[in-house]
Amino acid sequence: MVKHRCFVKTVIFFLLLTPLLWSQHVTLTASKTQFSQNEEIRLTFTFENIKNAPRNINFDLHDDLQIVGGPYSSSNYSWVNGKMNSSSSLSYEVLAKRTGRIRIPGYEFDIKGEIFRTEPFTLQVGKSGISETSDSATALPSSFIKLQLPKDSMYQGETFTLSYYLYTSERVVNYTSAPLQSMEGFIVDRFKMHDLPASSKQILGGKEYIIAEIASLTLTATQTGEFIIPAKAFRISLKRQERFKSIFDDPFFGSSTNDVNLYSAPDTITVFPLPGGAGPHFTGAIGDFAMHISLDSSLIRENQASTLRIDLIGHGNMPHFTFPEQAFPANIEVFEPRVKNSYQLQDQDYRGQRTWEYVLIPSRAGHYRPEDVRFTYFSLRNKEYRTISMPVKEIRVLAHNELEGDYNSALTPEEVRLLAKDIRFIQMDEERCVSLSYNPVRDPRNRIPYVFVLIFLLAFVLMEHMFSLRERNMQRIRKKNALKNAMQHFRKVTVESRADLLLYGIEQGILNYMNDKQLSQNAHPGIADVMKTIETYKYAPGLLSRNQLEVLKDKVIAIIEEMEGV
């Protein structure tokens, strides 16, 4: 029974405890409550068993703290007695802007109509070294960031660039920093990390430091007063050599990379208002500028366009001003100027060119002289306002039915003579005279060459014909002279010759004759017989005696004579 009661009590206790375990609440904790001014701490909001917890919190830090990182979120789930327990957290990395006690108030959250509140607590901020990695309290740290201002005071509207220098005596392998989007009292023109900065060496406190400009921040002052340039966090990766702890440590790869957060110290800058007396042509340009103007056409027709181009070349706050309004004569319609920008951030401010193109369309004929183009800027070099004034050429507008003659500039013959431009002297002789109705095609002089061409052509045709005739007659002549030629040939073929030469001579004689006569071997029954004998003894002419060869020769001559009917 007692055992039974004890069990019931335990169950009741757990049942009472369960709501506590699953209770919904929000807490705010700090990673450190005592820390130095340049030390980064983490503030974490934890939402226990709250669904739809906020992903970002806009909490008021009363100008005491500065957020340098975050929000970083994380979630946790666990099962207790078959029921899920969840918690989510949002963390922010913050820096203290001042020393002393900073009270973190309680923050209220309204989640689905339910109010949750965090408990207030106090942070104790003390003065300390610049770096987390300081070797000792008195000596300079091995790495630190230094902010360098170009000057302590600026003018409102002025563009300038701050530099962040890394001083280190260690081996830096990488560095990063969160981009900077806005800053109170300034337009952030650009925050740039320098990937491959030039470095120099300096001895500080007996230690050699490598100094490199790792980042620059270009700002344009928009308000006057005293402003704090806040601390900027940089994450620096340092490579450090590790000591051997055991024989199992790798002797070759005994180094590791440590990431440290370094912060530049906040600095103060004063922005003064520009002096008075700027004049009507000042539109906020600060720097040093030169102006060039051009008109593409000073002689146009009614309703035709001419373009006035104004080029402003120099350096200063190029993107942060407009060109002063220009006055143009009545009867000239002027469109909004087309602006072309060709500048870039260099060193301290913007350098390059800005161009304004005004399209002018006069509606009536006449002479128009637009007012001089004036532009006022505040010269940083001379600390005074300067106005550039340039005249615009007169525009002459012609009526639509008037041609583009320039009456004023047309020269008289006398003026031309004065300009050493006179006509050339007359011709003293006539080389060739023609009739009034001269036509070069009908001129016999031009036709004669074609007659010669025809003659050449005829001569060519004639020559070809002559050679062709000769070619044809050649056959007839050979036919006619066949017997004569054959006899002449056989006269040369004598028995004194070698047997093979004699046989070859007989063969050639009969073949030449047949060729000249255009005959085949069937023309005479004896020819085939002779040719067969020659073919037989061609490769063994020695088998035939001189007499046999002589007989063969006579036989051939007899065949030829028979064919000729001699």
């Binding site: 431009k421 006539e430 005279c433 002089r445 050449f456």
Partner: protein
């Protein structure tokens, strides 16, 4: 043998190449003397008498143009220089004087930059001496006939001849002749069909119709060269000024360039 044939064949061409000059009556010399003595009025009268005889030369037209210019009449001066340019288009003196006087004209048109090939062709059209072109084509044709003839002759006489260089020459010559013929024909047609005139009056109104009461389109000034289209009873002429401006003008203001 071949050299002899060549010399005999080319002899007439060499004779033709040297232009003859029949000379001119003493009136021309007198007019030149009058001009040299700055008596431009009588020089002009004598030059004009020569022109009205029915036989002309570019030198005569040129001298008339000079005489008018010295007398301060820009329009007729341009008219006669343009006439001279028709007979001797490439002569530098004519071009020079025309360029000088064009600087004094009131009407000026700045034309857009043309594609270089078209610009070159346009200039060539203006300056091409047609006489020489026609003769040049004939000479090239003669060579075109002679080259294969010599080849055939050599082949007949020697039994062999290299054919490849002959073919190359024939093809090159044929292409050259074809191109020159097209260009010459184009220029010939343009000069035959186109009629131009120069505005002689100090200013002349151009109307939308051949009627003084019609809409006044624009005004041209002395020395401007126009292209003439239709003509109505020798009183009105349809003109175009740089192609885009077309209208009607009284012919009394015009000095025609082509006869």
């Amino acid at each position: 043998m071949i050299k002899r044939i060549l010399i005999i064949a080319l002899l007439p061409l060499l004779i033709l190449a040297k232009s003859d000059n029949p000379g001119r009556d003493p009136l021309f010399k007198q007019a030149v003397s009058a001009y040299a003595a700055e008596d431009y009025q009588s020089a002009l009268a004598q030059f004009r008498d020569l022109a009205e005889s029915g036989t002309v030369s570019w030198e005569l037209y040129y001298n008339i143009g000079n005489s008018y210019y010295r007398l301060g009449e820009t329009g007729p001066a341009i008219q006669y220089w343009e006439k001279a340019a028709l007979l001797a288009p490439a002569h530098p003196d004519i071009r020079y004087n025309l360029n000088i006087v064009r600087e004094q004209l009131i009407d000026k048109v700045v034309l857009p930059e043309m594609f270089p090939l078209f610009r070159w062709y346009g200039e060539m059209q203006k300056r091409l001496p047609l006489d020489r072109m026609i003769r040049l084509i004939a000479y090239l044709l003669a060579i075109l006939v002679m080259v294969p003839a010599l080849y055939r002759l050599k082949r007949h006489l020697r039994g062999h001849a290299n054919r490849k260089p002959v073919m190359a020459i024939v093809i090159a010559l044929s292409l050259m002749i074809l191109l020159l013929t097209i260009v010459t024909a184009d220029v010939l047609l343009e000069r035959r069909n186109a009629k131009h005139a120069v505005i002689l009056a100090e200013s002349a109104d151009i109307f939308s119709e051949p009627d003084r009461n019609a809409t006044l389109l624009f005004t041209l000034h002395e020395g401007s060269k126009v292209r003439i289209g239709k003509e109505i009873e020798d009183k009105w002429a349809k003109i175009s000024y740089f192609d885009d401006k077309i209208g009607w003008i009284s012919t009394k203001y015009l000095g025609k360039i082509e006869e």
